[in-house]
């Protein structure tokens, strides 16, 4: 991760042609840039080209970077502009502003809770089962595979938000800026996605 105090050194490195610095940036940022680009264009190949064009623009334009925003914000803004131009050509738009009723609905199966006429309406019918602890015999690599498969099953918007936030570690503010998404809508998508991944993990990790 790039921190504020290393940012000046990174900008200087890119300007002076330090290949190791540039290679590190490519390595650290390209994956989330690909994901972000993919939300504006229709194919993986298009997204790769958007990321490539963005890096070329960064290499050419780094001398014009004035440090008024963070380097990352500057780079991602170039990416979004590049991707949007291309998305217009491909007439692809991912709507980020409006959530569907389904997306706003419950994230846990209502059948797991007691009915409205019960003595404890909305209480668990039976508590969620405990999971195997981390020290138990469950293999981390298998858990990672389960998590990865769960992410792949999510609808586009949820998959993008949970990947940027929880897998890649971007902050809430960064993700809202990148996707031009409101804070509350971002949290709705993130919460749905986490609940879905938890449900998949549950079927794998529950103690019998």
């Amino acid at each position: 991760m790039v921190t504020q105090h290393t940012e000046d050194a990174i900008v200087a490195g890119v300007r002076s042609g330090d290949e190791a610095v540039f290679a590190q940036l490519l390595n650290d940022w390209s994956r989330s840039m690909l994901l972000l680009a993919r939300t504006f264009v229709s194919t993986e190949a298009s997204a790769e080209e958007v990321v490539q064009d963005t890096w070329l623009a960064v290499i050419r334009g780094i001398d014009r970077f004035e440090g008024r925003s963070s380097l990352r914000t500057w780079v991602y803004r170039i990416l979004v502009n590049t991707a949007k131009r291309r998305g217009l050509r491909e007439s692809r738009t991912v709507p980020w502003s409006n959530l569907t009723d389904e997306e706003r609905g419950p994230t846990v199966d209502p059948a797991l809770f007691r009915d409205a006429d019960d003595q404890h309406p909305g209480g668990w019918r039976s508590f969620p089962r405990e999971w195997h602890s981390a020290e138990a015999s469950v293999l981390d690599s298998e858990v990672r595979t389960t998590v990865r498969e769960a992410i792949d099953l999510l609808p586009d918007r949820q998959r993008i938000v949970i990947t940027l936030r929880d897998v890649m570690g971007h902050s809430s503010d960064e993700v809202c800026q990148m996707l031009e998404l409101s804070g509350p809508n971002q949290r709705v998508l993130l919460h749905r996605a986490r609940a879905a991944v938890r449900a998949c993990l549950s079927s794998y990790l529950e103690v019998d």
């Binding site: 419950p106 809770f113 909305g122 209480g123 998590v147 949290r187 919460h191 986490r194 938890r198 993990l201």
Partner: protein, 78 residues
């Protein structure tokens, strides 16, 4: 001040982690959590889910594109 049901509790977990609940709701959330083992388990499992997500390795650009960009960098910044 009304009590939260379990069904309401599970929908507030991410807002709770993100620190976006108002003080009154946080109080009701914490009270519920202290009294309800099922919801405490759910909360812990959501927390573990988030940390498991953070352990997934992230792929980057194809090697081919990396080398294309690195040679462009060499040509343009020399």
């Amino acid at each position: 001040m009304s009590n939260l049901s379990c069904q309401e509790f599970v929908e507030l977990v991410t807002d709770y982690f993100e620190g976006t609940l108002d003080a009154d709701t946080v109080e009701r959330f914490d009270e519920h959590r202290a009294l309800c083992p099922g919801c405490e388990t759910y909360l812990q499992q959501m927390q573990e889910t988030v940390s498991r997500l953070g352990e997934i390795p992230v792929e980057s650009l194809s090697e081919e594109m990396q080398s294309t960009l690195l040679s462009a960098f060499r040509d343009l910044r020399r």
